[in-house]
């Protein structure tokens, strides 16, 4: 008798565990030395490095198949269009959207959120209405809504977090009112690593008829994301944080909502007919894709999805969890080190401070050891304010990180402490 395993569990005796050493050889930049040391790249929440297959896909596009899309009858245009359309289908399958027309290509997560705020938001939010975000958002999921609220004389409300960095979901019921028009939340916090219970938030918001946008920038490289299972109305993410190209992002939106929204920008490709009297919008998703897009970058995103699919995103989840479980006690054991963000459900990110040592000094010393981490407020100043600190040092993980990387980090932090003792 056979047992059916849930799709996210590695099949027994099936898929081999992640062969990280082999994977690392596929990332050319990991062979680099920085200040004479092998590169230890732990700034993956800012951006990930690119595998050969993504670099090749982008280069190959320019070398062999480059032309503008949806324009010409010539071979190159047709090939480019095919490749571009295939990338959209890959994205659809990757997040399990119902239809490819629900996948809108944008420049990144930031543009995706701005698009929703400026179209859906401007249409639906009026004076005295409310937009709800959480206290752990990245600036890019705060400022677009502030711009909207300023324009419409609406109110931005904040769902609080607790001292561990968990969102206090139980407060949401009270926070939502009949004036709430949209809830916009991160899936994974870039500053703390908190995994936000998106499904529960969607359920609560939907029970009140309030749509939900999810900022998935930190989630898609680490977790299997199923937009229909989450039940969200919009889902935004960036290619460059998931091993793909910069300058490409995705907005998933339920077709019914996208259909009802006005265009974001005017230009080529987003229209079906133009006269000086009247212009008719193109169908989804093209209505939201004015101008020539980042064609090669989008092909690169498709290659990144292929790459992740081949490895199995569930293996990446397990690998990063293993590394976080390995790193957390090692770092916590260092006297004077404080981990910022200790949510029970946490992934990919390890933020910390050192008593008496500024994160910038930590970053400079580690860089001399070839260790790349991020120091600063991580574009989440309200989070820093909540914890009463100006900044943190943040190590963030990717599928190519190893326990040796963590050991180097721990040794580097020891060196920092010796230096500033």
């Amino acid at each position: 008798m056979s047992t059916v395993l849930p799709s996210h569990a590695p099949a027994r005796g099936g898929r081999p565990p992640l062969d990280v050493e082999a994977l690392r050889r596929g990332f050319p930049i990991l062979a680099r030395k920085i200040h004479g040391h092998p590169l230890v790249y732990l700034d993956n929440a800012a951006t990930t490095q690119k595998p050969e297959s993504v670099i090749e896909a982008v280069a190959d596009m320019y070398r062999r198949s480059y032309g503008n899309i949806h324009r010409g009858v010539h071979t190159l245009s047709v090939e480019a269009t095919d490749a571009y359309d295939q990338a959209r289908e890959k994205v659809r399958a990757f997040v399990n959207a119902a239809e490819t027309r629900e996948i809108v290509f944008v420049r990144g997560t930031t543009e995706a959120i701005n698009l929703v705020a400026q179209t859906f938001g401007r249409q639906r939010v009026g004076e005295g209405d409310e937009v709800v975000v959480t206290a752990l958002e990245h600036h890019s999921n705060i400022v677009p809504w502030q711009l909207l609220c300023d324009e419409k004389k609406a109110r931005l409300k904040v769902l609080p977090i607790d001292r561990t960095g968990e969102v206090r979901v139980e407060e949401l019921e009270r926070l939502l009112t009949p004036r709430s028009r949209v809830v916009s939340i991160a899936h994974v916090s870039n500053a703390l690593g908190t995994l936000v219970p998106v499904r529960r938030i969607v359920e609560i918001a939907h029970a009140r008829g309030v749509p939900v946008l999810v900022d998935g920038a930190q989630a898609v490289p680490r977790l299997a994301v199923d937009v229909r299972e989450l039940g969200c109305d919009f889902y935004a993410f960036s290619a460059h944080k998931m091993y793909g190209s910069t300058g490409v992002g995705v907005l998933y939106g339920r077709a019914e909502l996208l259909d009802a929204m006005p265009p974001y920008q005017g230009g080529g490709d987003m229209i079906s007919s133009v006269t000086f009297e009247k212009t008719t919008w193109n169908v989804l998703p093209y209505k939201f894709e004015a101008g020539t897009p980042n064609i090669a970058g989008t092909i690169g995103l498709g290659a990144a999805i292929d790459y992740l699919a081949k490895i199995g995103i569930e293996n990446v989840t397990a690998h990063e969890k293993d590394l976080l479980d390995y790193a957390t006690p090692l770092l916590t054991a260092l006297p004077g080190l404080n981990v910022i963000g200790t949510a029970r459900e946490k992934i990919g990110v390890l933020s910390f401070t050192l008593d008496g040592i500024h994160p910038h000094d930590i970053g400079t010393v580690l860089d001399q050891e070839g260790i790349a981490i991020r120091t600063g407020h991580h574009c989440a100043q309200p989070v820093m304010e909540f914890f009463g600190i100006p900044a943190t040092a943040r190590a963030s993980l990717a599928l190519y990180n190893t326990r040796a990387d963590i050991d180097a980090l721990v040794e580097g932090v020891r060196k920092v402490q010796r230096m500033f003792r």
């Binding site: 008496g356 000094d361 001399q368 407020h377």
Partner: protein, 163 residues
Amino acid sequence: MGELRDLYQEVILDHSKGPRNFGELAGANRRAEGYNPLCGDRETVFVRLEDDVLKEVGFRGAGCAISTASASMMTESLKGKTRAEAEALFERFRDLITGQDRENKPGAPELGKLAVFSGVREFPVRIKCATLPWHTLKAALAGEDRTVSTELTEGPKAESGGA
């Protein structure tokens, strides 16, 4: 990039751990707040200015080793200087850490102890840490009641995105 020890010289570490003239300055008649959005650091500089002479200079705030040491050593080196002398010293200091002082400009003031900051030039992202207190001082002397930001000054741009 240079050696760490050139950046974090003993004198700098000493001042960062035990900053001089630290805390609100009693009798100050000039003050300004400085802000570095790259790290979120804030620093307040206080001056007691009499007859165009900086009688006393103090500062308050939490910053990195470079900005704390720079503020501490700035307060020491400015005591008793005229406003013009203070501004000339800042010019010289800025030239030092941005690597523009290779040939001595005639009439430039002596840097004295401040010369230990020469290692900063090899760490361009840290230039703003060293100049933050000086910009703040300048704002205080100008009597500007505002927050000065390092983003309006020299060096590479600070973060504004990238999560």
